[in-house]
Symmetry: C3
Subunit: 145 residues, 3 copies
Amino acid sequence: MDGPVEGRVEQEISWLLDRARIRELTARYNRCFDDGDPDGYADTFTEDGVMEVAGGPSTSGRNDLAEMCRKIPWGVMHVTVDATVDVDGDSAKQHVALVVIRRAGRPQDKPQITSTGRYEDDLVRTPDGWRFARRRCTLDGWVEK
Amino acid sequence: MDGPVEGRVEQEISWLLDRARIRELTARYNRCFDDGDPDGYADTFTEDGVMEVAGGPSTSGRNDLAEMCRKIPWGVMHVTVDATVDVDGDSAKQHVALVVIRRAGRPQDKPQITSTGRYEDDLVRTPDGWRFARRRCTLDGWVEK
Amino acid sequence: MDGPVEGRVEQEISWLLDRARIRELTARYNRCFDDGDPDGYADTFTEDGVMEVAGGPSTSGRNDLAEMCRKIPWGVMHVTVDATVDVDGDSAKQHVALVVIRRAGRPQDKPQITSTGRYEDDLVRTPDGWRFARRRCTLDGWVEK
């Protein structure tokens, strides 16, 4: 059970599990934010977790993260795609692309993409599962290219 | 092989496999519907499977599902992202976000997002693999917010 | 270790690992192309890999692939979703949907979808991991429907 071959397979299975759990954590982040669940949103971070928008605001700690989520009016949809996840023991890094869509609130409205960008995430394994220690979001067009 | 640790690992590997199979089933649902394969589309459901649009039509059984698919003209692209999957024995629930895009049929046309929404899916494990027992789709904007 | 049950489980775990690696390879393809890393882009292919656009250009070999990437101006975002992956030994096929978005370069710009399509990919397992042997991309609207 401890030979080099078995050890490598176990490590790869661990990566698969961690990767899937981190992808689902990210899905919950999106859904909680977009459907108005501030506590669920804050719970995707560690107690002192940080959400930083490059060139924009930075928010620290679950209380402030929940408050920030509470203030955003309905209508945002976060889509995250094309992730890579690297795990090192109880730490992980995720790089994932972001598309933000304006949802239609009425039948006559049309949804549209409002921004694109990237997340660079630092995650930690906690007794409750993976949590974001820090998310850094870079949005295209915030600074001239 | 039956100790608590090994049992948990096996359970997590089972979840990984079920999750990946359900994600691929959902991909086939999208592709069959969008590329005009009514029988392939109907086969992603159980024999008596139900597709329900909240506030809209409900379609039951493979024959009617295939017929519904057959009537839709070319031009729809279903994109599903940010899924969470919970498995309980031979049943599963998937929550997944939806973006519907109008595909360009001619070089001068531009694709555009026509709607966003959510699927809440009930799935069952069959001898042929996972199938949708019931999909419930909620589209943004069908009812005023 | 070689019984029919254990063999099947090992095969399914292998598929899970191969599928996740191929999904991450595809994510790197998108990110390298979109963020201007021609060598990283070319490295997602085998040395003699081919990128073919149905009804459009075909590019072969890492040198030409890197050169093609180098010439594309900033502003493209590849989004790939709803993949199915079939593995046969050291070969694999991926079918994955594509959405191409025009990124905003300035605060006053709005991103928009410029095309949708499909990739049909042939991959091979190399000592450095999975690589694209051939990608064939079909874009909607290039030929009248």
